[in-house]
Symmetry: C4
Subunit: 242 residues, 4 copies
């Protein structure tokens, strides 16, 4: 990772932070011009960076005229991501109401972090998920059945008493998801004794099942990373994080 | 898994989705005829499939007349599941108010997924539970004691102040289950300082205990799957998922 | 485990269930006499069982007169537990308002389950906790510091705005415990932006720490059970659960 | 750990408990003089201890006059921590409104626990975090993206309906953090069907990701502790906890 890359990463993170804070009207209305200037500055910066890259790509070794090389580069994946970042910075000036687009600049980060240790860990995570796909499919399918079974049970037990919350299976599935993930907002909960008994059974029986995929991926990811480390060690161990 | 199996799986999933959505009155009253036609279509489809299977079973090699083979098949477990699916599709037309029966068509899926990798993972999960039955029994029994102890403590501390929520041990057990599973709806929570201290002790001490069975099953399941993989590799590794 | 033991276990469980249900006034007032007769029956049963054991102990081989043996047995730990069960069954008849005592009959179960596989798993759990005592002490101490630090931060940020909930550090600790265990009743939550930022930091940073002891014990317990299994296998593997 | 160290640890813990309870006005106003006397006593105690240490340091072997040795000691890290404890005990008498400072006496504990087994476990935890820094960085970054993505999705779906809770991305991030950590206070939850569907997807997909760092650290910590144990055993195994 070169020094220029670091500057770009910081610029992207800063522009994302500005875009996030800019959605808060209480703050944005007071600092309207500051946010506009910051966004304008980021626009200039990303445009200048795009132009500089476009220009310098002609100096790469290889056949073809300067503009031929540049057209090849423009159609490359990372140049399109770069262009995309420039566009999402400028478009919201023209299309008010589309500031969420600005968060898509985070994709640029993924392109920059593609190399080095970070990428290795990402690949380890991906391969862990692929290696355990049957485990995940089975536990996921059982979890889905439990989700549906819990929703049906509560629809049956509470549908008449709380039609707003349990009056249909899709409605009851909101309760089911929020309970089995142990989030438990409490906006919806059973009130009848029968509903409470069924909910307790679903909660006790189901939480383990929903938590299992996490455990499976965590273990596989941990193993994959350990393998990478064992293969790299000790020559690479002193390397700093990209 | 043959192509016909895939079509049946899709038909079952589609019929289950229609059955789920059909319970939502806001949607169902507007799309009454569409849902009826869809259910009618599924009924025809499952009936036709059942008839086709019943007919073709006569062509299997073996002694006995065609109808003798068919009667043997009708009494087989999977044919009964098939018949059951046909019945639960048709019965709600005759018995309005029994649409939950339609979800039982999911059992048919289990029969279809009985073969292949999915089944292997299910068996691994089952054997993991059986292998660790003492671990699960011990942690489960301790968890039950904690559940009961927590409910008793809060019944003692809060029973007078909140008779609706903690006025008896069965009532307090609802709090106990929802707290120890970390769901925490908040419909019921201690209000007195003493109740809060006891609830904090129960929460800190008990959450680990309730989470342990999950960890135990996840580890055993992961190990069992790894063993299957090691035994199959590398000849079977390229196999696609059923 | 003999057949008599099974009968006693069932009697204890039944008596505990009756004691639990008996605290629900809605049920108890309607079934007053049934509950009284059931409790009376359990009292007779446990008393008879105690007398039978006291009598039969004289037939054990060994020196000393019959009554000398009986007095030795009366002072033994398990006989005291037996006596305790008899007492807690009879006392609530004399001391109305002490029905919680009846739940203490569960101790009798522990005495009966002392032998066999269940006991082995309990010992494995105990030895896992002891083996990892430093790990648990360190993570527990860090968890306590985080609990206290979170409570202090929210006391500082929200104490003025919500004096009822965050007006002192002990009050804020209720929030802290319920948040770090991820129960999250929602009876108490930060309202100011600063309080929300601090609470988010505490939640993200602290949940891992509070969940770690569970992971440590679960892993150690799993390993200990595996060791027991490896040592016993294959001769003992067919044994049924006690 | 000497006997004097034990006395100091108990004094620090007692002074912290008094400082915590002292923030509860309901208690503090009734026991004003008792708390003042306790704090005064702790002040005297820590001051006397500091003076005793300052005095006795002159008797250490080494060149230089007594006062030269004392000035060296005063500037040492642990003497500064000692002095800090004395100051935070006395300052709140002069500066009312700064009682939180008293909790900083806990730092003294860290200095005392620096040696022995406790320190070993702390180092194991630290080295586990460092060893797995890439794993943690990757899962942390993915978790952050999910946090931001969930907040943006709900801002988009519910921003108009619940402007107070989801009217900007920073506001929606409060929901996002409390949901992905599974705390789920319920002060803020989606109300529209679209918002509920998105929230369910975020909850199911994201909880695993947020829980992964915990699993990774717990596993690495467990392994590091096991390594320490294996290296020390059996010579050190009988050692008591410091």
């Amino acid at each position: 990772m070169t020094g220029a890359d670091r500057v770009i990463i910081i610029a992207i993170l800063a522009s994302v932070v500005v875009a996030i804070i800019g959605t808060e009207t209480a703050f944005a209305s007071e600092n309207r011009s500051a946010i506009l200037w910051a966004e304008f500055g980021f626009g200039i910066f990303f445009l200048a960076e795009y132009a500089a890259r476009l220009w310098s790509v002609a100096e790469r070794p290889g056949p073809g005229s300067d503009w031929a090389k540049r057209f090849v580069w423009i159609r490359s994946f990372f140049a399109l991501v770069d262009l995309f970042v420039v566009v999402v910075t400028i478009v919201p000036f023209l299309l008010p109401g589309a500031p969420i687009l600005r968060l898509l600049r985070l994709f640029r980060l993924a392109a920059l972090l593609k190399f080095g240790r970070f990428s290795m860990a990402l690949r380890a995570l991906g391969s862990a998920v692929i290696e355990r796909r049957y485990d995940l499919f089975v536990t996921g399918a059982l979890g889905l059945v439990l989700l549906l079974g819990g929703a049906t049970a509560l629809y049956w037990a509470e549908g008449k008493v709380q039609p707003e919350a349990f009056g249909s299976i899709p409605r009851a599935m909101w309760w089911s998801v929020i309970t089995l993930t142990t989030v438990g907002y409490g906006d919806v909960s059973p009130m009848t004794p029968l509903g409470k008994v069924l909910a307790a059974v679903v909660a006790v029986g189901g939480i383990g099942l929903v938590a299992m995929p996490t455990g499976i991926i965590a273990a596989a990811f941990s193993d994959a990373m350990q393998n990478y480390r064992d293969r790299l060690a000790p020559s690479d161990d002193e390397g700093t994080m990209p």
